[in-house]
């Protein structure tokens, strides 16, 4: 029982990341009709927003403290980050909270990147075949990750969660199942909540604003909305930028869970595509539920008991589910007719 609960929890945060990426992917599919293979790269760029912010904050000022000397007799050099030197405690606080605070940096940056990508590249591919869209965004993904590699190197750069949430919660004890049975890192819980909030914001935005209404109408029937004389092009740009921000935020907050490296986007992209296909191309709820579902399934498949029965199942579960779903329900769990079908 507690083992199951633990795996369930373990699957949720990964599921949250899948859901956020898949949400953006399917939003772009549904409205723009574009298959974006560079979406994982946006996730990765978000993660590196957090890395850059942290690096920026950690720039150190070197002062020489003449009153003290090192063991070799030279004056001691004291290194303090500039923010701490100038802002004191507040600076220290920001440094500690660099991951969540970098969201403030990530939003404008990702908006800008999304805007530039759509205007500069994607918009020229609206009428091109899907194969071309896949190929050009695949090329873009390679370019983006190689640029990041050349700046930050190939090694993962670990980020730390703020001290307050750095430990783990003993959920077992809270639920009266006994201490130490279910230990769950606080930050993963934060991530889960965060992803739920972002998902809720996106849904609310689409549900309650006129803009969102038009976007939803466009997902249902693109031609009609075009005929209504609504400026679709500008909305496409905004939708793309929103999807970029969502992917970026998913990346920012994931850094304390997985130290970011340049190819993390590709790893997540492949899985997120599978999530979108399982959820049903063009279905937002489908993407979100499939994201969590697959995250949890993956977590369960990695239990030793399960692996003992089906060796290697943890490695392939997501793909296996995708294959089965696509064959049994060709349009995915919640896909509608006519989306991405020639």
């Amino acid at each position: 029982m507690d083992e199951i609960l633990l795996q369930f929890l373990n699957g949720l945060d990964k599921g949250g990341a899948y859901a956020l990426i898949a949400l953006g992917l399917t939003l772009i599919f549904g409205t723009l009709g574009v298959v974006n293979f560079a979406h994982g790269a946006l996730f990765m760029l978000g993660a590196f927003c957090a890395v850059s912010f942290n690096l920026l904050l950690s720039l150190q000022k070197v002062t020489v403290d003449p009153t003290k000397t090192t063991a070799w007799g030279t004056p001691l050099e004291v290194r303090t980050p500039y923010v701490e030197a100038y802002l004191g405690d507040f600076g220290h606080w920001i440094l500690n909270y660099s991951v969540p605070v970098s969201i403030l940096l990530a939003i404008p940056v990702m908006l800008l990147i999304g805007f530039a990508m759509e205007r500069g590249l994607i918009k020229h591919f609206y009428t091109r075949p899907h194969a071309d869209q896949i190929l050009v965004t695949f090329g873009l993904a390679i370019v983006l990750q190689e640029i990041v590699k050349s700046i930050y190197g190939a090694n993962p750069i670990p980020q730390v969660a703020p001290d307050v949430v750095s430990g783990a919660a003993d959920i077992g004890a809270m639920l009266g199942l006994g201490a130490g049975v279910i230990v769950y890192p606080w930050w993963r819980m934060v991530y889960l909540l965060f992803s739920l909030v972002v998902i809720a914001i996106v849904f609310a935005f689409l549900q309650f604003t006129t803009f969102g209404m038009v976007v939803r109408a466009g997902m249902a029937d693109r031609e009609t909305v075009g005929l209504l004389g609504i400026n679709i092009e500008r909305r496409f740009t905004i939708v793309f930028a929103i999807a970029a921000v969502v992917a970026g935020l998913a990346g920012v907050m994931y850094t304390p869970i997985l130290p970011p490296d340049y190819h993390m986007g590709m790893d997540f992209l492949v899985l997120s595509f599978v999530v979108v296909v399982v959820g049903g191309m063009g279905s937002l709820t489908g993407a979100v539920s499939a994201g969590f579902l697959l995250g949890i399934l993956q977590s369960f498949a990695s239990m030793n008991e399960v692996k003992a029965i089906f060796p290697g199942i943890d490695q392939i579960i997501i793909y296996l589910v995708a294959v089965v779903i696509l064959l049994v329900r060709p349009r995915g769990l919640m896909g509608r007719k006519g989306v991405m079908e020639n």
Binding site: L121, V136, F138, M281, Q315, I316, A322, P330, M340
Partner: protein, 378 residues
Amino acid sequence: MKTRLSPVGDMVLFAAFTGAVLTMPIWLAPVGAGYPDLLQKFAIYGLFATGFNILFGLTGYLSFGHAAFLGVGSYTAVWSFKLLGMNPIPAVLLAIVVSGIFALLIGYVSLRRSGIYFSILTLAFAQMCYNLAYSVLTPITNGETGLRVLETDPRIFDSTTRAEGPLISKLFGFDMTGYPGFYFCAVLLIIGFFVAQRIARSPFGTMLKAVKSNQNRMTYTGLNPRPYTLAAFVISGMYAGLAGALLCITDPLAGAERMQWTASGEVVLMTILGGAGTLLGPILGAGLIKYFENIFSAFNEHTLSSIFSFLPDFLKELAVAISSLFVGEGWQLTLGVLFMLIVIFLPGGIMEGLARIGKLFRRIGRGSDKSHATAPAE
């Protein structure tokens, strides 16, 4: 697309191709590619891309999982070395058969869907193969270390042979390294090209083009598209298996990374770069990519600064700084940029570019008065 050659034209093309492949060591020497290791790579990836093109170029089905068959071919070949001995011929034959069976299974399932769904399904299968090769299938694949031939392996037909260094594949007493290794691959490339050419000109090939052009019309014409696409899938899987086996003849080592989806992406790029749907394009694309990979990844700051030495100092440093992003470790960046440029500006690949240039010259030569003779009569 100018693919409608007469039988004589085809024979000339084939003869020219054969000649060009066999003399590669000579005419590629001036550009620094005249050594057997690289030439062998040209031939192997040329085969891989030629096979991929039978599926993608003719039917339009974009597989993102062809690296799986490359990997299966490699593992099969190494096992053939381990069990049967170091002769490359059974290894190659077995690799073709086994990867064909894999392709039949994966294709049968994946081809129930088309478009983006097909791409995702093939990707999913390839990733499954990759992940399994790394984990539970370790007894067969030897996991992360990769599968290699050991002195202690049974090697039924040549177990008595002992080698000083690493075991190397042998045919008729020739070690499959250096030029013998290249020529073995080159001969197979020529055969592979011949088969692809025959397919492209055959009724079967025409049906594959019909699949790409209009499946709806095809079904209402009394044709079942699925067996056609499946046959194309299996054939292209066999080419990939063959290429995988050839990768092992000089260096009998098979690793799971050969199945990773980046490898699948690479063969797509080769095909697109050269020109999907053309016969020579994919081979050209494969050669160019392997060539540039080889040249560019060997560059370093030192070679760069000697290249830009004619510039004034500050410009030189700038040029070196910028260009060093694209070479050496950064070769992948060049690849990505190239990929994008081709898809954006030249979707037909190099072959289309050549055709455009050719047309331009013909028009100049002929004068502009006749150039509209083939315009559609409305």
